[in-house]
Symmetry: C2
Subunit: 342 residues, 2 copies
Amino acid sequence: MTEHKTLTMSDIARLAGVSESTVSRALRDNPIINEKTRKKVQQIARDHHYQINESARNLRLNKSHTIAVVMLLDPACGQAISDPFLLDLLGNVADELTKNGYDLLLSTTQVLGEDLSPRYLDSKRADGMIIIGQGAQGQQIDALAGSRKLFVVWGADRPGQNYATVGSDNKKGAYLAVRHLIETGRRRIAFLGDSRHPEIEQRLAGYHQALAEAGLNPDPTLQVETDFSSQSGYEATRDILMTEGRSFDAIFTVSDAIAMGAIKLLGEKGVRVPEEVAVSGFDDIPTSAYCTPSLTTVRQNTAEGGRQLVKCLLDQLAGKEQRSVVLDVELIVRQSSSGESA
Amino acid sequence: MTEHKTLTMSDIARLAGVSESTVSRALRDNPIINEKTRKKVQQIARDHHYQINESARNLRLNKSHTIAVVMLLDPACGQAISDPFLLDLLGNVADELTKNGYDLLLSTTQVLGEDLSPRYLDSKRADGMIIIGQGAQGQQIDALAGSRKLFVVWGADRPGQNYATVGSDNKKGAYLAVRHLIETGRRRIAFLGDSRHPEIEQRLAGYHQALAEAGLNPDPTLQVETDFSSQSGYEATRDILMTEGRSFDAIFTVSDAIAMGAIKLLGEKGVRVPEEVAVSGFDDIPTSAYCTPSLTTVRQNTAEGGRQLVKCLLDQLAGKEQRSVVLDVELIVRQSSSGESA
């Protein structure tokens, strides 16, 4: 008797032999779906006592039923989408939009120009935008924010910022990881990342907080600028390892990809991880649990991130006040800092 | 004097402070871009002698300038997009569509129903479709192929198939990897993957070919069905390792994610890789070079895959005959099979 509570849109899709977004449209009697399919889907829903969210339905009347997702790329990287974390987040946003009956117009760009709003919103090609990434210094989005605020951004919530963000508690995440490294006896902890990005600036603040609490002075020569790639982590680690007189017993990196590059270099140079140098990443991408040694990291909740980005935007479209969301993070201790099997 | 040859659309985008797709539209005088921006972009292009591809421009007149990219998901996996290889491919398709002035309408689905064509093509919301994944048994797309063939599929080219595919030479890839394992002295080689997928069926054929050439009989108890995840590789390896009397000295897996799961389990059980068991993956995802041990694998060329998928579709839209493309693959030998640093 609980069947009507557990049946999902995906179940109806399978029963009807159509996609989830067709189910969503059919249930809202969208004429884009042919009548036969609409009736079939509606009958299955009725048979199983499936409930339609009416407020969501009303919200979308006379709209494009499409959200533009703009992924901001690092110009230094060249390739389109390469960061496993951002791809994971994109997958979750796609999931969530599908569940809400929206199509996803995907755009990758190296520049958040003023052309975004005319291209997607003024032209009615999309009802709103989700922007993934703030760019170095976060300046580009401030220009956008002058226009109608039909967008939400994945990134860091900063003082004085005039747009809504959804993002992780970056400072807390870095603080937890670095405090853990200190608690396991480390004193000379390197920081690998590019603090011109607002999210990384917050992680650097967490790193400094943990050091300060332990009475340790940060050593600027152990703070090395990298992009988000494994190659960059590999090269940065080689640089600090090869510099005469620069010693370290741990590395905190701002992404798991960077950490994997660091671990590879240490392995090649015969430095044992974690016995001689402990390593922590950030993100908890799917492969981090399966590396050898498995990777200590800070888990960002991409499933919740996808949900909150979509919810925040749909709330705005419904005329509600925009409000930034900071997601909690979790320290995941694995072999690269503890030596124990995870 | 070669400046006009090396300036890219991305360079113009940076100079004009707009996105690449705005540059593409402005160069084609698309009225969706405001006149001031159009003139600015066109002036920069003229100043740098940038050449516009006129045939591409004509092709797109009176079209939606949008391609639907449909990612077929494994219903068993639950989460939207989780395979790092497919995400990498998606990034390259996005790149290539942007370069050609197209927007990308992204859709994820567990079912390739007959509703795809009405939803995207008949409704004029997209000019064509790129479908990533054929699904187990490849049956779903055969149903689609009855309609107008304005789509191309990433996957396996099979006899009697009535639609165009772009995909890797799966049989050759598996053959190269397994032959390499045999050449390094392995005789009992396990196969981890789900051969109901057309691409995996071809890789199984390559595995059998390499064994047959070496005079080895395949042992059906060493062929284990997995999905594409690390977790599945971990569990499958535990199963064969724990089964009384089942011995093996190598594992060929159909994805790098599966291989990482296998290596993790072997490490936990004290089995040395590659000394006792050599492992080869398939894909060459970015993190494969940075695992410990680094992963021997078969490289699929996702950059070329993205280019060919888009080219194949645009050729069809221009009325040219459709033709499947098989991309060459490359064996990448790293520590998990050779023990040497890569």
